[in-house]
Amino acid sequence: MILLLAVAAGLLAGLARAGIKKKPYREPELSWLWLVILAVAPQLLAFHISATAGWFSDRWASAILVASQLALLGFVWVNRRLTGMKILGLGLVLNLLVISLNNGLMPLTPQTAGALFPELPASTWVTGLRPGRSKNIILPLSETRLAFLSDTILLPAWFPWTRALSAGDLLIALGIFWLLAVEAPLDPVPDQAGNEPSHQS
């Protein structure tokens, strides 16, 4: 949810930019869109759709997460000419790195989990637990590889969605924002006869 805010914020900023320049807004030119759908569909089943998430063991879920993110890396590579995609790709690589080195799931310390759910007893957060159907695994800092790349950045308490983010998540959000706000080309204004000149980004 938190990363979807970057999509909304990027779109609003892009529309504002188009409005200021008085030109129609156009979507960023992306290739191989089908690869994203193909890559993310198994993740949706294993993590996000509660009716199907139960079908997958933790081992399968972690394998799906790594394979899915590798496929997304392919999409990023195909579209690497865009600066926003490079930023997003760096974030994805950082997330994939820390996930791959920690049992295929994103590490979360018991302390961070406790801060997110203060109403639950500290004994809830046992090492190796995958809370709910999330992408996280509870690991103490001492047992986490590349801990500084894990979900250690806590959003302020006033934020409506309490979440912990990784450095990779921040870069992904920035990359998406950049793509929609800065890199989305603006259409040339059609001439009086309604003919659109050839696109110039």
């Binding site: 993110q69 994103m106 992408k135 979900d151 983010l165």
Partner: protein, 48 residues
Amino acid sequence: MKKTLSRISLFTGKINRRTLQIFLALLTLALLALGAGAPGVDGGFGGI
């Protein structure tokens, strides 16, 4: 009249295609964010 109708149909066709293209790009980027990101307590965390 025919000319006006054809202009309207051309206009709505263009709007629909453009809207669809933007929607598809937004959907792709939203899915990309969902798949690439791993914020703490995402997905079905509410089940605990």
